[in-house]
Amino acid sequence: MTSEKVAVTAESTVKGTAGRTAPGVRVSGLSVVYRTPAGELPAVSGIDLELVPGSITGVVGESGSGKSTLALSLLNAVQPPGRISAGSVEIDGLGDVVRLTGEALRKARGRHIGYVFQAAQNSLNPLKTIGKQLLDLGRSHDVADLRGLVREARDLLGRMGMDGARVLDSHQHELSGGMRQRVGIMFALVLNAHLVVLDEPTTALDMITQATILRIVREVHEERGLTTLVITHDLGVVAEVADRLAVMYGGRVVEQGPTAQVLGAPRHPYTRGLLQAIPRLVGDIGEATALPGRPPTLGTIPAEGCVFRERCVLRTDVCETEDPPVLSQGESLVACHAVAAKARRDGPATAARTWEPGDVWAIDEIPGAGGSDEERRDEGIRAAGGVPQVAGVRRGQGGQA
């Protein structure tokens, strides 16, 4: 916070990580509620998440999972009717962002935290050249050396494989989607922020452009020494780019850990279901299985118990009433009654067995699990006509008791 008082000099906007390193971020007990006619409904509930300095963390979730709300909370930018109702977001060098207000908050955004908005392709002003918008940004942040800012922007754009001078002279309609996305990333970094949030950075981009953007994100992240948060609905995107992965569902983080561990040995039934629902290029395509039901919306997130239980093949009675315990193993965390029960029975070692696509725990491994298809079916979607049956339950891999 004291760094805010220091006048911004040209040096601090020009290249390099001088005097600034990748900040760590600790989100604790964060809850965000939205006011609706039905009362205040939770979009995000009791989230604990740490962004390790210098790492790329991916948050993956479907619409309504609260992932964008979580990202906005990092800027303390949740808009009414939403509000942060509990918890804190501690950012190194800034303190608790939730407590920042007014000018201090405005300065923190852009200067400390760069944000690339969802559909950054469409978030540029169509009437002004990119260069003019850059100068506006500089002035609103009291940058003394605007020339230095332009130079920095040009370097960044050049770094991302574009002709910087030409791009700054362009209007947004003269740039392709992938180029606009890179301009968005430039805007997020040009004030030398070391915490960068990218909300759906590759939505609406082509496969090849997506691969290019992800490579750029990774390279710029490493070169500039950033702490990066990537929000996406696409497991492939986080798998490609993130060191650590948090899976969100119904406003909660249900599983998190190192990316290779979460994808290689997923433990939460939702993570498993999601991985299984993605058709792959290699292997038996018939193994792809749809998750039954549909994700909850703000109004249908259960107030108590596990948020995923409606769609879960491992559901037990306790899931209805009690929040799942968070089980840690190594660096990863999982919030699931079934996983906890299994760990209690078998000891934690077996929970770490490797997993293969198509591998679902057999229901009989979980005491009291079950419930009929009738109960599990989505209110509107029947287990008929092309909807794969819920009971796609196969015996897990061998080697267990």
Binding site: G178, Q210, A239, I278, V282, L291, R382
Partner: protein
């Protein structure tokens, strides 16, 4: 069912800075989709795949070339006479949110075309409601729940199912699904894909799947034909599995290389192909259209146009002077 020969389409910019500029959306495309068969068009946005889909569905006239539906050449018919042919081919849009009228309940949405249909086929009015229920059940929805509701009361996945049910009201022989799951939540996508696959298997409906995601194309019809389209031309064409396991065109290889690797479950392919320029803005039309982005391009590629064929003895057709198989696809960790 439907074949096309040398189909072209050029768009002319009407107003604005680019007025008068021509965009060649399709430069002479051949295709053939059998009754009950599956085909997929893949390529980046702007490659012409959506335009081709719209032409096939009869929503867009083409400039030259011939389209034949069930043995009848469309050029021999007047526009009005073509209607019963194109009615057999129904398009499913990418966006189920804008494809349904927000002021109509699902009941109203299905009733209108079904009432027409009842008139055409001399069926009693009672058939309309009966059929609406049948179709909703067929697409995996509970008629009692869905019929009285408006689109905003349904999830994206349910809406897309309603759109599919509506397409089925006219008893089509072919569905054209244009990025039909790209706006649907990840966990619900497979359900929609499974439905299309199931309709193909149970009703014998042909499915044309237009997408940029090769894996979903594989899911819908692993036995079908894959068309890889680049700047209005088919650059590689053949059975889905052949092209995925043994692509020979560098553009196809770039597309497959760009698919994110699920680290922990997969390891990247051994010979990942990355196009040399992010965008070929030259818009030059000589030689191979991909040559200026191709990492393997030669002098010949810049001047001489490669033609679609089995050059080099490949099982699939390709349009490349230097076809070479490269292992670009990510493989599951631990073989397999």
């Amino acid at each position: 069912m439907i074949t096309g020969r040398g189909v072209t389409k050029t768009f002319r910019q009407r107003g604005g800075v680019l007025a008068g500029r021509e965009v060649k959306a399709l430069r002479g495309v051949d295709f053939a989709i059998e009754k009950g068969g599956a085909a997929s068009f893949i390529g980046e946005s702007g490659c012409g795949k959506t335009t081709l889909g719209r032409i096939i569905a009869g929503l867009e006239p083409h400039d030259s070339g011939e389209i034949v539906i069930d043995g009848t050449a469309m050029s021999s018919l007047r526009p009005r006479q073509r209607q019963p042919y194109f009615r057999r081919i129904q398009l499913i849009h990418q966006d189920p949110y804008s494809a349904l009228n927000p002021t109509r309940t699902v009941h109203q949405t299905l009733n209108a075309p079904l009432t027409l249909r009842a008139g055409q086929t001399r069926r009693p009015r009672s058939w309309v409601d009966e059929r609406a229920g049948e179709l909703l059940s067929l697409v995996g929805l509970d008629p009692g729940y869905v019929l009285p509701r408006y689109p905003h009361q349904l999830s994206g996945g349910m809406r897309q199912r309603v759109v599919i049910a509506r397409a089925l009201t006219v008893d089509p022989e072919m569905l054209v699904a244009d990025e039909a799951v790209s706006m649907i939540d990840v966990s619900l996508r497979l359900g929609i894909l499974a439905l299309l696959k199931d309709l193909r298997e149970r009703l014998g409906v042909s499915v044309l799947f237009i997408t940029h995601d090769v894996a979903t194309a594989r899911y819908i019809g692993a036995d079908g034909e894959l068309y890889v389209i680049y700047r209005g031309q088919v650059v590689e064409r053949g059975p889905v599995e052949t092209i995925i396991s043994d692509p020979v065109h560098p553009y196809t290889q770039s597309l497959l290389s760009a698919i994110p690797v699920l680290h922990g479950l997969e390891r990247p392919g051994e010979q990942v192909v990355v196009p040399t320029e992010a965008l070929d803005e030259s818009h030059r039309d000589t030689g191979c259209l991909f040559a200026r982005r191709c990492p393997f391009g030669t002098e010949r590629c810049l001047t001489e146009e490669p033609l679609l064929g089995h050059g080099g003895g490949t099982p699939q057709e390709h349009a490349c002077h230097h076809p070479m198989s490269r292992s670009v696809v990510a493989m599951p960790v631990g073989g397999g």
